[in-house]
């Protein structure tokens, strides 16, 4: 199926720091059960907000996961990234400072960077004015620390780069890791996304009227918005040939990706641009629409996203689109981590043979057209190619494609 040159790229490790559990295995098990990670906001003071639910990682104890870095020296997003990266490396059978990791790259996506540090600085400035922004804390506010935390935890010597392409950023990070490994620029890459629950994001979506009253219900006729959420997810990418040679478990192969920019509006999605993004991803991976057995949707649960995304998919796939579900129904919207969680779900779907559900959908929106299948409950399935969507404010669209690897 492949047309591009270069090395084939395998996913051999996965990590998840999520409201649904710690580690890719716990995360995947929760997806199968359709569990919800949504609960009351605890990461910031919810007083005065009308919507007070979020998908927070309630039981994250960084010291249990981070052995080399001092968690207090990094922001919460960086701690998520480092823990997810450590899980992914361990899952791939690679210890910190393993030779395969020595020059590995760290690529992470984020929407809000170290948002809790910015929030803390803003709170200090309320009391102390602008000079309070000069606390030692300020040096940790840079979003670049997210990838650096993962590199420091695993002793990686390659580039540590953060993508700030908002809610598509996780796919940007995976796509870059893929290009680095495929082209021989790196022999391994840890890539994914991380974001922390924070006041500014919640307030922004609240003000836009984009927050759901209780849980997000993507593709439902009465869907009413997103629930803000947090977490970190990571994949370990390495050349397929190396992975097979060392007898590693291969979850999936990265087949390729596509990216477009709407260049129309900062916050409204654009169906034509998304459809083109799907086509570019298919062309890059050398697959036809009929090869795609499952789509892990961006599926935020807003009226605009889900209808636009469905229209774009129909423009490419015609009247018989593949099953397309949203794991945000369980996780909420983890922002810069969202597409990375989608990638973990996609690889698990290929490896374990199941379709993750849109667990909260009750009545599928008839306006989404005939034959729409948002997978109301997890079910067995054998997709051979899975398509993972990530779209963002700023008009950034990024789609990654994963394929089954048969021994």
């Amino acid at each position: 199926m492949r047309e591009r040159g270069g090395r084939r790229v395998a996913v051999t490790g996965m990590g998840a720091v999520s409201s649904l559990g710690m580690g890719a295995r716990a995360f995947t098990a929760a997806l199968r059960e359709g569990r919800s990670g949504i609960g009351p906001i605890r990461q910031f003071d919810p007083e005065g907000f009308e919507r007070t639910l979020a998908g927070e990682v309630a039981d994250f104890r960084p010291h249990e996961h981070l052995k080399r870095i001092t968690p207090e020296e990094w922001g919460r997003s960086g701690r998520f990234a480092a823990a997810a990266a450590a899980m992914a490396a361990a899952d791939a059978g690679l210890a910190p400072e393993a030779p395969a990791l020595r020059d590995a790259a760290s690529c992470f996506g984020t929407t809000n960077g170290e948002s809790q540090i910015m929030e803390d600085l803003a709170a200090r400035a309320l009391e102390g004015g602008a000079p309070a922004l000069g606390s030692g804390h300020a040096a940790r506010a840079d979003a670049g620390g997210i990838a650096a935390a993962a590199s420091a935890e695993l002793g990686l010597g390659g580039e540590a780069v953060v993508f700030g392409t908002a809610c598509a950023a996780g796919n940007y990070a995976i796509a870059h890791g893929y290009d680095l490994v495929r082209s021989g620029e790196a022999d391994a890459a840890v890539c994914g996304g991380a974001d922390a629950s924070n006041r500014a994001t919640h307030a922004g979506f609240h003000r836009l009227g984009a927050l759901a009253e209780d849980v997000p219900r993507p593709f439902d006729a009465r869907r009413d918005g997103i629930v803000t959420a947090e977490g970190g997810a990571a994949l370990l990418l390495e050349p397929l040939e190396d992975a097979l040679a060392r007898g590693a478990r291969v979850y999936a192969e990265v087949l390729g990706y596509g990216m477009t920019c709407d260049a129309v509006h900062m916050t409204n999605p654009d169906a034509d641009s998304i459809a083109e993004c799907v086509r570019l991803a298919h062309a890059d991976a050398g697959v036809r629409p009929g090869d795609v057995g499952y789509i892990c949707a961006h599926g935020t649960g807003t009226r605009a996203n889900d209808s636009t995304e469905t229209a774009a998919v129909r423009a490419v796939f015609g009247d018989r689109p593949p099953p397309m579900s949203s794991i945000k129904s369980m996780l909420g919207h983890t922002m810069g981590a969202a597409a990375a969680f989608g990638a973990v779900a996609s690889c698990a779907a290929l490896h374990e043979g199941f379709l993750p559900p849109t667990a909260t959908v009750r009545d599928v929106d008839p306006e989404l057209g005939p034959g729409a299948d948002p997978v109301p409950q997890a079910r067995p399935g054998r997709p051979r190619v899975v398509e993972n969507h990530g779209f963002a404010f700023g008009g950034n669209n990024a789609i990654t494609l994963f394929g089954e690897v048969r021994p």
Binding site: D103, R182, D284
Partner: protein
């Protein structure tokens, strides 16, 4: 025209060894404390000499920390127009102005769907993010913030808005990483071009000097150093992209031979980042088939930063021994420009080359370095244009 109706086909990418080919810098847009474009960057003197309206936007007042500050000397309305300017963040204005200047300089020769934008940033606009947060604390309800401010709190605001303004639907990315941000943007853009992801990318970085950003950044300064702001964006062309053939290509400003970025946790030993940077420089030189002695000009990025300057010194000493190339200290003139630092340093190198004209005797290669507080280090190796145009690239011989 529907931007998605006429997309050019994806071309097969280069891979493996071929991906080490250089990319041409065909144009540059720069906004800095010394003014617009490359010319003032090549002129002698600091901001005090060249600034027209440098005191713009409140610098030098009590709002700022007690260090010298060099705001960008430019009139954004003159570049972007007045309409909608109030909705843009300070970082948006800088980055969008640099993109507009680069695009004007380069001409619209590549198709819009194969032309994209890659921008480096630190936290985005500190002024907008902190102002938005301030509102969540002080409004009657925390969500009674301005909805039109919200997109500006995101790091990708500038790249998204620049794409809208210029109708560029190709690859659009924003990368972050403190003083490494500009190198990340240039390396990412280079990788994308060599992998066939776009034909032309406007790549660079921006950093603002709002009072908020200044207070956040001033603690990292070396004694006596200044804070600056600005943006530099370069039009980079994929080798062999159709528009480069059709154009009969003018002289590029320079060529990126290699960009190598690494990481070494400072907690694992204070020498680790310096050793890693020296290794990155060695790697970049090896890729270009060059020796340290071929480097005629070095532009260190960390000269204005207390903790990073010694790391950079040590690394450069390890590479060059006692025979340091001539140094171009952009931060001394412009102040420390954090995320934009390496981009403005590259712009200053190109400005000097253009000013000097083709002069093989003074050496062809320039090295730009950057060091971050978190352990990220990196460098970019550029080559000045040859007297008779780009010509064949002998540097590939050793790849």
């Amino acid at each position: 025209m529907n931007p998605t109706a006429s997309r050019s086909p994806v071309r097969a990418p280069e891979a493996g060894q071929a991906a080490r080919r250089p990319v041409d810098i065909v144009a540059c847009g720069a906004v800095s404390p010394v003014g617009l474009g490359l010319a003032p960057l090549a002129a002698p003197g600091g901001p005090g000499f060249a600034v027209g309206n440098g005191a713009a936007e409140g610098a030098g007042t009590a709002e700022y920390p007690p260090v010298r500050v060099h705001p960008a000397a430019y009139d954004p309305a003159g570049i972007l127009g007045r309409k909608g300017l109030g909705k843009l963040t300070r970082t948006d204005r800088l980055a969008m102005s640099a993109c507009a200047l680069a695009l004007e300089d380069a001409g619209r020769t590549a198709p819009a769907d194969r032309t994209g934008i890659v921008l480096g940033a630190s936290v985005g606009s500190a002024e907008t993010v902190l102002g938005f947060l301030h509102d969540t604390f002080t409004q009657e309800r925390p969500y009674l913030v301005s909805p039109s401010d919200f997109p500006g709190t995101l790091m990708n605001s500038a790249a998204g808005r620049a794409a809208i303004r210029n109708r560029l639907t190709g690859l659009n990315a924003t990368v972050s990483g403190g003083p490494l941000a500009a190198l990340h943007a240039l390396r990412y853009a280079r990788t994308a071009l060599l992998n066939g992801r776009a034909d032309r990318l406007l790549a660079g970085a921006a950093e603002e000097l709002s009072p908020q950003a200044a207070w956040m950044r001033h603690g990292e300064l070396a004694p006596g150093a200044a804070l600056g702001e600005g943006a530099a964006v370069f039009a980079l062309d994929a080798p062999g992209a159709p528009h480069t053939e059709a154009e009969g290509a003018g002289e590029p400003l320079g060529r990126i031979l290699a960009c190598s970025i690494g990481f070494a946790d400072p907690a694992q030993g204070s020498d680790a980042p310096a050793r890693r940077l020296a290794a990155c420089v060695g790697n970049a030189l090896a890729r270009a088939g060059a020796e340290p002695g071929d480097v005629a000009l070095v532009a260190p990025g960390g000269t204005a930063r207390a903790a990073q300057a010694p790391v950079e010194r040590k690394a450069l000493h390890a590479v060059f021994g006692g025979r340091l190339p001539q140094e171009l200290d952009a931060a001394e003139r412009l102040g420390d420009t954090n995320a934009a630092g390496a981009a403005l340093a590259l712009a200053a190198v190109l400005a000097r080359w253009r000013e000097e004209g083709p002069d093989p005797a003074s050496g062809r290669l320039a090295l730009i370095t950057a060091v971050g507080p978190d352990g990220s280090v990196g460098c970019l190796l550029a080559r000045r244009p040859l007297p008779d145009g780009p010509g064949p690239d002998t540097s590939r011989a050793r790849d």
